[in-house]
Symmetry: C2
Subunit: 149 residues, 2 copies
């Protein structure tokens, strides 16, 4: 199976797993506990690191312009969506019936992003991020400097 | 401010908020509690519903092909990424230093997705999702029927 199909299959299946009672109920406990207990935090993030390793390798094969660190950021982006979907469309959640549509967006948009991202675009917000004022109010200044079309 | 800039600004600022101690620590408690307490679950999802209403309206202005339900699915997709980013790149989390890069992917990829999604592509996986066998193993069959390039 080619890497593109394998990435899509992995996403499809992990979103199906998110809808199991066990995953919807276990992971929010771990996320909460990780904020209170360093050992659980360390075990949880080792779990995610091991989970990401083959995904990072696959991302680099699909997009050789990304180095290991950038491919890891892309993997974390994908995982953020998957884990967050638990809250809205997990087992018994208000948008559980939309998971097929969320999967459709994910397979198209996230896999397309993996294949077309460049290091330059991935790093494009480092300066505005570092220079953003501490208070969060109104639009970030760099956006207002963009040409508005 | 145009809707595209406003959506990007909102994403940028909500990802900055995710990195506050309060948001990183409060929300995982609410996600956990919502699995145990129906009143908290209801309050939490009313909070998200109110949060999503202006986003849904903005998505529909940016992409008039999407009806209210489809625009809500797109809003839930974006929110899933944002909430999930708490776990990996929130306050004190292992990938906190990558949030600028995650924001860069989000502003480009998610806003691009909002502008170009069609109802047909959004609904493309409904049949394979409904027909997927209960056990999760190996690639979903519909993927193997795709032309592999």
């Amino acid at each position: 199976m080619d890497d593109r199909t394998a990435l899509k299959a992995g996403l499809f299946n992990v979103l199906r797993d998110v809808q199991s009672f066990q995953t919807t109920h276990l992971f929010p406990e771990l996320w909460s506990l990780a904020n209170h207990d360093e050992e659980i935090s360390s075990l949880l993030h080792n779990f995610y690191r091991r989970l990401h390793l083959p995904v990072i390798a696959r991302i680099r094969r699909l997009n050789p312009t990304l180095d290991e660190a950038d491919a890891e950021t892309v993997a974390v982006f994908i995982s953020s969506f998957v884990e967050g979907s638990t809250i809205f469309a997990g087992h018994g959640k208000p948008h559980a019936g939309r998971m097929a549509d969320l999967a459709s967006i994910a397979l198209e948009t996230l896999v397309g992003m993996v294949e077309t991202m460049t290091p330059e675009r991935l790093h494009a917000l480092r300066e505005p991020w570092a220079n953003a004022p501490p208070e969060i109010s109104g639009p970030a200044e760099f956006l207002l400097r963009e040409p508005v079309g």
